[in-house]
Amino acid sequence: MARRGAPVVLARERLLSVPGPLGALLPGGALQRGAVATVGGEPGAGVTSLALGLAAAATAAGEWAAAVDLSGTIGGLAAGEAGVDLSRFAVVRGVPNDRWATVVAALLDGVSLVMADVPRGLRVGDARRLVARARERRTVLVMVSSPAHAWPADAGLRLWAEGGAWPGLEPGQGVLAPRALRLRIEGRGTVSSVRTAGDALALTG
């Protein structure tokens, strides 16, 4: 018999499960609502595909995802191939640096997952305010960082894309095929606070 007065929280309300092979690598197979995840790596190492794979978790649950795209270069088709339902995915482009924090904070109010590039010269105070806002609104914040612009605040989950060989293509022959991506994942498990870390492979574009 359930204890009287204990609040009942469904798993669906706490977690946003990530579909596909990427989900199998994450602690609990899911992103924790209200938490911040960072995705890092060199350009061309699969950072964007990895972040889009996380964004797919929101649209797969029938909810909405938004991306703040500073360079205005996210590939719409690649988002679809990473599993994002394009009818529930919006991209905000051309955000001036001084409005960035306002726009991200606004989006955290309205969707289940916000994916954003770390802007140049982001202040620690702004970053911490966004962490608090995400926790309060129970929205996942996926920060796409680069070696030059790191996320200056806490994150419950840190992922790095470390590239992978491209199959299917030889000098002058064949066609590029989807590759397996090497990932490094650090984070607290969702049940216990044991840290998990390790190298792993996930299939992505």
Binding site: E42, P43, G44, A45, G46, V47, T48, S49, L52, G62, E63, W64, A66, S71, G72, T73, I74, G75, G76, L77, A78, A79, G80, E81, A82, L86, S87, R88, F89, A90, V91, V92, R93, G94, V95, R99, T102, V103, A106, L107, D109, G110, V111, S112, G163, G164, A165, W166, G168, L169, E170, P171, G172, Q173, G174, V175, L176, A177, P178, G205
Partner: protein, 525 residues
């Protein structure tokens, strides 16, 4: 954005307390005595005699009977009200073919042609009222203004608003005239009690605070059309029709067929992210008679509302309005053989309509509200959603649609059939637009060129570009070239364009060579 054209000059006709009038006409209520019509236990409309005894809309039945002993109470019969209105609509239709019915008792039509024919706005109003009076309706009011919303308000005051003076006419009305109680309540608390005060707010601020519904109301208050005209062109292939065999002679037979049509029409609109605010119901009979009538609805039509309106219209045609009053010429001579529904005005579906996807409607509303707010901050073109469309290159194969506009592929860009010469493989996650310049060199350091027959001068060996990690490097694998002739029919616009898929170690990218210049078009990231 181009300035909006002046809204269509429109005549609104209003028969006050139509449910009461209709009940009296069909003999359910006595004339000259107090009458109230109830909907779900509350008074919807009351006759003048009842209003003199303080019986008004919203009262419970018991309260109404207490205030006015001996009052006749009638339950609302919307279908019968619609049937009773059919002769009125028919009388006005003799003056103009472009009639739009809002609900039984209220109709509107654009005045441009008829007004000139009848010698000006005043002459037209006189003719309309005379035609309605001939049907036995002694209390009808007509008004003319710019735009449907203002015309319906002008009808309540029986006023002809001169062209261009509509915003001034609207300014004095209370915000409650917008017909959105929640919005009116909030505006009232903000101290904005009239449409004029609301209209004076800057549009971006209204969009940011009240979202798309708010901006629609704001447009109305300023005397504009609720939806920008560019958004209201209905796709031509959305007409739904069905043949009735054997011909339908009873209302329920025809209405059953109409229900399927209505569901199909709204379904195919929803697939395109559209909703419908005005629909034309058409029918043909065994003897070749052709009937058509437009119905309008505040907000988007739901399947139930559309089916109801089609049923009312079919009922009006088949029974010929009020049975004993209808002239022989008003009755159909045979059964209906064809039914057709044409969307006359479409708007981008938003808010509640998006719930068709199975996501919960609250999440859709929340997302839509926030996107509109960000659009208010940055401008509408800064919030976009991707739509896949036909094309050869990653840039061509996505159309970025500003939030709130219909999510459709661009013109002449169907997804099917497949486009020849399209770059194969997975789609690049970063599409650089405009693309940065690059250098594609062979092993001797010479730029790689492609002959008119599509053959490369030498295998590519080195790619250099500032946007690449370590500014490029040695090429380990490649595919291509894929050549396309762009605008080959145009001597000056003609260009040969070549794409290469290039892999350097673990970095893959898409390079384009056009007019001798290489660019880095996309990065597989």
């Amino acid at each position: 954005m181009a300035p909006d054209p002046i809204p269509t000059r429109t005549l609104g006709l209003w028969c006050p307390d139509w449910p009461v009038v209709a009940a009296r006409r069909r003999g359910d209520a006595p004339g000259g005595e107090p009458v109230a019509v109830l909907e779900r236990g509350r008074v919807l409309a009351a006759s003048r005699e009842a209003r003199d005894e303080e019986v008004g809309a919203g009262l419970r039945r018991r309260e109404a009977e207490a205030r006015c002993p001996g009052i006749t109470i009638v339950e609302l019969d919307a279908a019968a009200d619609a049937r009773a209105f059919e002769p009125v609509a028919r009388a006005v239709e003799r003056l103009t073919p472009r009639l739009v019915i809002d609900r039984p008792g209220v109709l509107a039509f654009p005045t441009r042609g008829p007004s000139r024919y009848f010698g000006g706005d005043a002459g037209l109003v006189a003719h309309v009222l005379e035609a309605v009076l001939a049907e036995g309706i002694d209390d009808a009011r007509a008004g003319i203004a710019d735009g449907g919303f203002a015309a319906r308000l002008a009808a309540r005051r029986a006023r002809i608003v001169p062209p261009g003076e509509t915003p001034a006419f609207l300014a004095g009305w209370p915000v409650g005239a917008l017909g959105d109680e929640t919005l009116a309540g909030v505006l009232g608390r903000l101290g904005l009690r009239t449409l004029g005060a609301f209209a004076a707010l800057p549009a971006p601020a209204v969009l940011a605070r009240f979202g798309p519904e708010g901006i629609g109301a704001h447009r109305l208050a300023r005397g504009e059309e609720e939806h920008p005209p560019a958004l209201t062109v209905p796709p031509p292939d959305l007409v739904e029709a069905c043949e009735l065999d054997p011909p339908a002679e009873r209302v329920d037979e025809a209405a059953f067929a109409a229900k399927g049509l209505a569901d199909r029409l709204l379904g195919s609109l929803a697939e395109r992210g559209l909703a419908c605010t005005q629909v034309v119901v058409e029918a043909e009979t065994e003897h070749g008679e052709h009937l058509a009538r437009a119905w309008r609805h505040e907000g988007a039509l739901t399947p139930a509302a559309l089916t109801e309106r089609v049923r009312w219209q079919l009922d009006g045609w088949i029974t010929g309005g009020l049975g004993e009053r209808a002239a022989a010429g008003d009755r159909l001579t045979g059964g209906l053989t064809l039914l057709r529904l044409t969307p006359d005005q479409v708007i981008p579906a938003r808010g509640r309509q998006l719930g068709f996807w199975g996501g919960d409607a609250a999440a859709v509303d929340r997302a839509a509200h926030v996107f509109a707010r960000v659009q208010g901050l940055l401008g509408p073109e800064h919030v976009v959603t991707p739509v896949a469309q036909g094309g050869r290159t990653p840039v061509e194969r996505v159309r970025w649609v500003p939030w709130g506009e219909p999510r459709e592929p661009g013109p002449r860009r169907p997804l099917q059939p497949a486009w020849p010469g399209a770059v194969p493989g997975p789609s690049p996650a970063r599409v650089l637009e405009p693309p940065p310049p690059a250098e594609l060199l062979d092993s001797r350091g010479q730029p790689v060129t492609v002959s008119s027959r599509g053959e490369a001068s030498a295998p590519p060996a080195v790619l250099r570009c500032d946007a690449l990690p370590r500014r490029g490097g040695e090429i380990t694998a490649w595919a291509g070239p894929w050549a396309q002739d762009v605008r080959w029919w145009d001597r000056r616009g003609w260009a040969r364009r070549v794409h290469w898929q290039i892999v350097m170690g673990e970095v893959a990218c898409l390079v384009r060579v056009e007019r001798g210049q290489a660019t880095l078009d996309a990065l597989y990231d």
